[in-house]
Amino acid sequence: MDFPILTVLILLPAAAALLIALVPERRQELILPVGVALSILPIGLAGYLFFAFEKGVAAFQFVEKAPWYEPWGISWHLGVDGISLLLVVLTTILVPISLAASTTIADRLKLFVAMVLILEAGLIGVFLSVDLFLFFVFFEVILIPMYFIIGIWGSDRRIYAAVKFFIFTAFGSALMLAGIIAMALMYGTQTGQMSFDYSDMLQLSMSSNTELWLFGVFALAFAIKVPLFPLHTWLPDAHVEAPTAGSVLLAGVLLKLGTYGLLRFNLPLFPQATVKLVPVLAVLAVIGIIYGAAVATVQPDLKKLVAYSSVSHLGFIVVGIFALTSQGLQGGVIQMVNHGVTTGALFLLVGMIYERRHTKTIADFGGLARVMPIFAGIFLFTSFASIGLPGLNGFVGEFLVLLGSYTTLQPYAIVAAFGVVLAAVYLLWAYERVFTGPITKPENEKLLDLGLREIAIMAPLIALMLVLGLYPKPALDRIAPSTEAVLDRIVSVTDFEVPEPGRLADVFSREAP
């Protein structure tokens, strides 16, 4: 048997969480460095995965399968494809960064580091699961560490935010569990053997009514996670109350579980319902884009601003996915990664300024560029990436999404494009109020600029923004075959046809696939 790299990738952070417990109580100062060091290890594995990943293959790679409980048809079935590959890499990169940014946490630090590492194991598990039961297990398990991270180390209203986050998400996934059970039993009646396996679920034949219902319960669970308007109300609370590491991982990875789930499960498993319900999802997503951006614009609090900007950005991803075109799907996937990088970076920056001033209110700042030029520079750079300045990563994703949705969802694409404009408004206006002009508050005059540690934390993210912006081909090459396969399935099962030029496997070449 080959080296079970995916299992190791899941177990490594979990083992690291246990190892942290061995750090002696007296050496508190060692906990965080050890945690960061241990969490860097998975990057190596994920990097290997990225480069060893065979381009041009749509199917799951590095597949591992072992029965878990055969009578129920549950197996430990892991695999990685173009849709999940980059998200796994993103997760492994964001975890050490968010740990390294958690130097202000003093209370029960060991538990904190362990929780972040368990969260990482769960997140990687979600992306790698090819069995619906397994997927659900990971999907639900990650709530626990995140709940503790928000609830213990968050700010004033942390308990409210943590419980709200937990209940919202748990509600969605409870109904999804009903859907999963129903599908497994349906497979049992059709073939005589219950199964939760993703590939088996693709073979299910179901009435269009059943498909609609199942689409509904899956979409509800994922829409809460994304979050789609009007299910987004948990997000500002959770993001704002969470400690920096929590916000980074929430925005960077957890939200992607929603869009990932829609793409991984809703589209291929329920193609008929997908085609039927495109308008519903697209309308909600576009409302989210504009609403999120509008609310972000008027936020007096910097962290809330970034939080609402996520609602807007995730709306883009959903529009891209439900455009059902090559460009839209690829743009959706790459935008998941981009949003993780840029919004993660923005939350880190907000955390850094909060550590210095203990306020996140925009009005408390002004003229910071004078005392913190490096910080200002990085903030502006990240804002540009988030807005979608050509040459930076945000542009690639937004451009592809708009291109893809213009073919099939023209009116929505036109409205969504205003989201890009609004993003420039809220981020640059915030930049203006925080960084430019004279220093108005005496407290801000003596602020220290970013130290070496903080620059080192930001550096990998900045590098990613540049690399993904200037040369996205390696990433898109790996994504495209898998998203094409999703599209192929929808086209072959339904009477939906992708209008030209919506089918271009390699979106940057002129050749037809």
Partner: protein, 490 residues
């Protein structure tokens, strides 16, 4: 029909050993005052002997199939043997938790041991009886032991109240059950579950009114014992007032015994009325899940919280039982892991409150993670397991009963139960919030047991075992699921 025997001591071996153990404890206690350590050895010996005999039963059932004994009063099948194993486990864990109480009771500690033995024996009789009158005997042996256990410390008026309430309402439920037996006899001319089943298969009952009322009363009587709503009103007061060390055993044992009896009755005696009882059980389940979950949210005492959560759990287990035999394996798995969680949770309560205390306000748990990280972590795990978070055995249990009910056509019930599970997070998480997210607000001097409670001795081991079972069977449930898959009634 496989072999039947008139006298076969193996069939009632575990019960005989438990009874002998009880007599020994009492007699030795009268003549010489043995130490607590001596009692501990005696208890361990009795439990191990009972488990060994149960193993012989299992061996024989696997080799030769189920058998009846004592004029078809007792049936030994995989169903009964699994119940016996679960009950012995519950008894062993429960006694270990109660050991602090047994020691504190001094002279009357032996009585506590005896009552636990008798309760286990009674519940085992319920699980293996093939005859409704026999089942009633088991029910009474167990119930009366529990009534006394509820009030055994006699230190506080709350304890007396708990015991009295339990006794009065419990006797009423027993009366309901025996009335059900009488009406069933009137309808079918028999009190043997097999003969009832055979009669109903062979005869067309044109006016089954009396029979159905009889069946409903049997179900109602047992629903009381498992604290299913609307027969649950005794549970919160009894849980709150009884000595902390023994509540876990009382709650867990009653659930196993009564569910074993209930399953046997509906599956074996009334297979022809499966639509009727399925709807009845589904209604009971719905009411229990809704009542338990909603009322648990409003509690300010962790024991009342656990009592109402127990009502909801009775509902979840009933969800599995609505589909009868097909749901039984899931029910057994649920019972196995839930009773362990329950005893574990009450073990923590016993440590935090002291083994003989009555009442455990939730405020005692504020900041527990800083005062006693181990206890807080353990209780948090049990709360998560009870709420059904994956990778804990609680999730597998819930998944099993839900899948069974869904397959049996009770989709609506599963959806109700799933939504209620989410609502359940409100109160399970509240305990975790108090332990982890509140600062310790304890007025007493630091260093005292109340300020920094600590699990010691047998109790610590109970917690470790309960945690291990909750996690191992949550991650790798296959061995248990395979085992309980065979535990169908003969």
């Amino acid at each position: 029909m496989s072999a039947t025997y008139d006298v076969l001591y193996l069939a009632v071996g575990p019960e005989i050993i438990l009874t002998l153990g009880a007599v020994l404890v009492l007699m030795i206690d009268v003549f010489r005052k043995p130490s607590a350590r001596f009692h501990a050895w005696l208890v361990a010996g009795t439990m191990v002997a009972a488990a060994v005999v149960t193993w012989f039963q299992w061996d024989r059932v696997s080799a030769e199939g189920p058998f009846l004994a004592f004029s078809d009063m007792v049936v030994i099948d995989a169903y009964g043997v699994i119940a016996a194993f679960i009950l012995l486990m519950v008894g062993a864990l429960g006694l270990a938790v109660a050991w602090g109480m047994v020691e504190r009771l001094g002279r009357r500690g032996a009585e506590g041991i005896v009552l636990v033995f008798m309760a286990i024996a009674g519940f085992q009789f319920m699980a293996v009886s093939a005859n409704l009158v026999m089942m009633f005997m088991g029910l009474e042996i167990a119930s009366i032991s529990l009534y006394v256990l509820a009030g055994i410390t006699r230190e506080r008026p709350e304890t007396d109240e708990a015991a009295l309430k339990y006794f009065l309402l419990g006797s009423f439920a027993s009366a309901v059950f025996i009335y059900g037996v009488a009406l069933t006899f009137a309808g079918t001319g028999s009190v043997s579950v097999y003969e009832i089943g055979a009669f109903l298969r062979g005869n067309l009952v044109l006016e089954p009114g009396v029979l159905l009322i009889g069946m409903a009363l049997l179900i109602a009587g047992l629903a009381f014992k498992v604290s299913a709503a609307p027969f649950h009103v005794w549970a919160p007061d009894t849980y709150q007032g009884s000595p902390a060390g023994i509540v876990g055993f009382m709650a867990a044992g009653a659930k196993v015994g009564a569910f074993a009896g209930l399953g046997r009755i509906v599956i074996t005696a009334f297979p022809l009325y499966d639509t009727e009882w399925a709807i009845g059980l589904a209604l009971l389940a719905t009411i229990s899940i809704a009542t338990g979950t909603l009322l648990a949210i409003a509690q300010s005492d962790i024991r009342r919280l656990l009592a109402y959560s127990g009502v909801a759990h009775a509902g979840f287990i009933l969800t599995g039982l609505t589909v009868g035999e097909a749901g039984m394996p899931a029910v057994w798995f649920y019972l196995t892991v839930y009773t362990v969680q329950l005893i574990g949770a009450f073990a923590v309560v016993a440590v935090v409150a002291g083994p003989t205390a009555a009442g455990s306000p939730l405020s005692d748990y504020e900041g527990l993670s800083k005062r006693s990280p181990f206890l807080a972590a353990v209780l948090a795990l049990f709360m998560l397991a009870m709420s059904g978070v994956p990778l804990t055995a609680g999730f597998v249990g819930k998944f099993g009963v839900f899948a069974a009910a869904w397959r049996g056509g009770f989709e609506w019930l599963v959806i109700v139960a799933l939504v209620a599970s989410v609502a359940g997070f409100f109160f399970y998480l509240r305990v975790i919030v108090l332990m982890y997210m509140h600062e310790p607000a304890f007025a007493e001097a630091p260093g005292t047991m109340r300020a920094r409670p600590e699990a010691v001795g047998a109790l610590r081991w109970v917690l470790i075992v309960a945690v291990a079972i909750t996690l191992v069977f949550g991650i790798y449930p296959s061995p248990v699921l395979d085992l309980v898959g065979k535990a169908l009634p003969f």
